[in-house]
């Protein structure tokens, strides 16, 4: 076990540092080697030594600076274009999802959207999972499995990149599905990253039963601080255990969807009605978020900004 732990720490930290050192050395050699080659095989034949070395360096430096400027501009431009496209795509996907959740058959269109813009679809699906409850949530879960997003997230668990593994655990956690329990337990027990472990315990505590929660919290002292911190957030006071949270009634999720749609379609009257109903339902947090969104939506044209739902 100790050897394994040692290997894990070496892999996670020391090996990582060595890799960064080697990569940096390789990058620096991309400056030195071409300069040396230019000096040796080209300039030194016709110029004095120091001038040849200077010119070789200068040529490589100019080439690198021009390349860097090009890359910098292109990256900024591409990011802007991508953001614009992603916003457009997300609006369409959200509409499709809203229609699908309200009972219409939109599976084919959603599958196409998933194939074409996987990341944007994943972002919209995540948003939907965060707000919908009850039957709509079950429908959303079914859709995620049907179109292959579930498998995509599962694949992410095996990635070397810590951020990707964590994102997969986070997203699978939103499904609140009992099938995922072994996945989270494995991540909690075996993943070397405290971030992945923390995401796993958050997911487990959100949907597991009282016994499982108790077992998790009993064994939590040995976990990294971040894991304990996330666990405390879920239990509302570490190490006390609360009763499982009741999901909000399905009506709330429907109102939220209708509220969202009303904002997108500039239907202020419906938006206000839905907000009234949300307040009446007694979910203060959701009502506050919705009121804030509505306020921002109303204030945007007054400030001369584009209306962003």
């Amino acid at each position: 076990m100790k050897v394994r732990e040692m290997f894990q720490s070496v892999r996670a930290w020391d090996f990582g540092r060595m890799v960064v050192l080697l990569q940096s050395a390789a990058l620096i050699s991309s400056l030195i080697v071409p300069s040396w080659a230019l000096h040796t095989y080209h300039f030194s034949k016709s110029l004095p030594g120091p001038i040849s070395v200077a010119l070789s360096f200068l040529a490589v430096i100019i080439a690198m600076v021009v390349a860097q400027l090009y890359v910098s501009c292109v990256l900024k431009y591409r990011t802007t274009v991508r953001e614009r496209r992603a916003n457009r795509a997300k609006t369409q996907i959200t509409h499709l999802l809203a229609e699908y959740l309200s009972g219409e058959t939109r599976t084919a269109a959603l599958s196409l959207a998933y194939r074409e813009r996987r990341d944007d679809f994943a972002a919209c699906a995540t948003q939907a999972l965060l707000v919908v409850k009850g039957d709509s949530r079950a429908r959303m879960r079914g859709l995620i499995r049907e179109i292959g997003l579930y498998s995509y997230w599962i694949e992410g668990l095996a990635k070397r990149d810590e951020a990707q593994r964590k994102r997969s655990v986070d997203l699978l956690g939103l499904l609140e599905s009992q099938d995922c329990q072994p996945i989270f337990e494995r991540a909690l027990a075996q993943d070397p990253s405290p971030f992945v472990q923390a995401a796993a315990i958050r997911a487990l505590l959100r949907f597991s039963g009282a016994t499982c929660r108790q077992n998790l919290l009993d064994a939590i002292e040995e976990r990294p601080f971040l894991v304990r911190l996330f666990a405390a957030a879920e239990t509302g006071g570490y190490p006390a255990i609360e009763t499982a949270q009741q999901p909000p009634p399905a009506a709330v999720s429907e109102q939220l969807l209708l509220f969202d749609r009303a904002l997108r379609e500039n239907d202020r009257q419906t938006a206000f009605q839905m907000l009234d109903q949300l307040i009446a339902e007694g979910d203060a947090r959701l009502a506050a978020i919705s009121a804030e969104a509505l306020g921002a939506w109303i204030a945007a044209p007054l400030r001369g900004e584009a209306v962003a739902a």
């Binding site: 050192l21 400056l31 910098s72 990256l75 971030f195 990294p224 601080f225 570490y238």
Partner: protein, 481 residues
Amino acid sequence: MSFELLGIYVHRVYFFFESGIIFYVFVINIIYLFLVAMGFFALRKYHAQFSPADRDSIRRSPLTPAISLIVPSYNEEVSVRESVGCMLRLDYPNYEVIVVNDGSKDRTMEILVEEFRLFKSARSVSGPLETKPVRKVYESVDPVRLLVIDKQNGGKADSINAGINAARSPLVMVVDSDSLIDRDGLFEMVKPFLEDPDRMIAVGGTVRPVNDCVVESGMVREVRTSKSLLANFQAVEYLRAFFGGRVGFSLFNCMLIISGAFGLFRRDAVIEVGGFQHSTIGEDMELVVRMHYYFLSRKRDYRIAYVAAPVCWTEVPMSWKILHRQRKRWQRGTVDSIWMHREMILNPKFGIVGMFSVPYFLIFEMFGPAVEVLGYLLTTVGLLFGIIAMPIAVLFFTVSIGLGILLSTSSVLLEELTPSRYPKWHHSPTLFAAAILENFGFRQVLTVWRAQGLWEGLRGKQAVWGAMVRTGFAGAKPAAK
């Protein structure tokens, strides 16, 4: 005959020195480039941010560590309203703001009392660190976590120590009163402490110039390049210093500087090492070096880290005179810090800090400006008197200026890997132009100023802070209609 022999000797000695300086400048630039390259890979690998779900968990968790923001303030009537207002609007579940008025002679105190509706507080601010006497303590009437300590003038380090005494949180953050922090900056700053709470003792964030950015309600709404070339030169410098040097040093736990404008410390560790030092003008660097010294000499495991994502926006000098004073002061800080802890130099007891970081700072950061100035002088004089050949001079300037340009442009490119980056594509040519142009005059001027700072430091001349002329954030740039 003897004159000819003397001439030959002069030529040889001159050539020896010139070659040595060219080699030195080449090595220093290659090391800088290596650090920038490390920054490139390390930023991609180790600087992932918290997701919204993580932040939600941190907000709700009772285990989230509280933070006391300590804002030393001296004659800051122009910017204190905006900056303290900004600090009170940060997105973090558990923090307080402690403004320490260091005997300001302007209206700083009155503005604080009026703007934040302060009343006299009975809160005790005594603590283990010695400071100048505290005159009064105020708290805000509003339900905001603001404490203002009005004390006799004792300098920045003294003010910070008074703030640390008054702080109730396990973590203390030192922020300049002319700075604005990203609204969610505390989440990212606290991240290393959540990852490694037992060993982490200090974390530094990124500082960037705010000049000509769009500031609204104490928040930077739109990042822009400045219309002033001087500000853009400094923007490039900041990018180079933070994304190049600090990322690389942090990777090997041998970072010697955490900016005094934006650093998060474990309170008990700062108190244990004796707080901020009054006797130096570079109290931020000195504290970090002392922390290394203290923990390494006691063989205690610790970590000092840098995180790239959180940004503290600060007003950079727009006048050459103030810039001159600032750079001399920074150099004095480096000289003081290295001199005070000279025992660490090449001492294996202090590990990589003693064997690499401190010698690096000694050779390249402390004496670097002197060698570079000597190089420019020797080359120019040698050319004028025909002692060195033109090819050697060309080689010197290529190595010095060419590699300097590559270093600056690489740092600008590194910026693409971090959030809060300059968003528009046309910002790139502006920054690249600044990165190139700064090597033709600006950098050389800074080198001379730094050499002056080194000279004053070696002579032991008393350092002074000097006044920074503030323009404030509110009137700097209104939001676009």
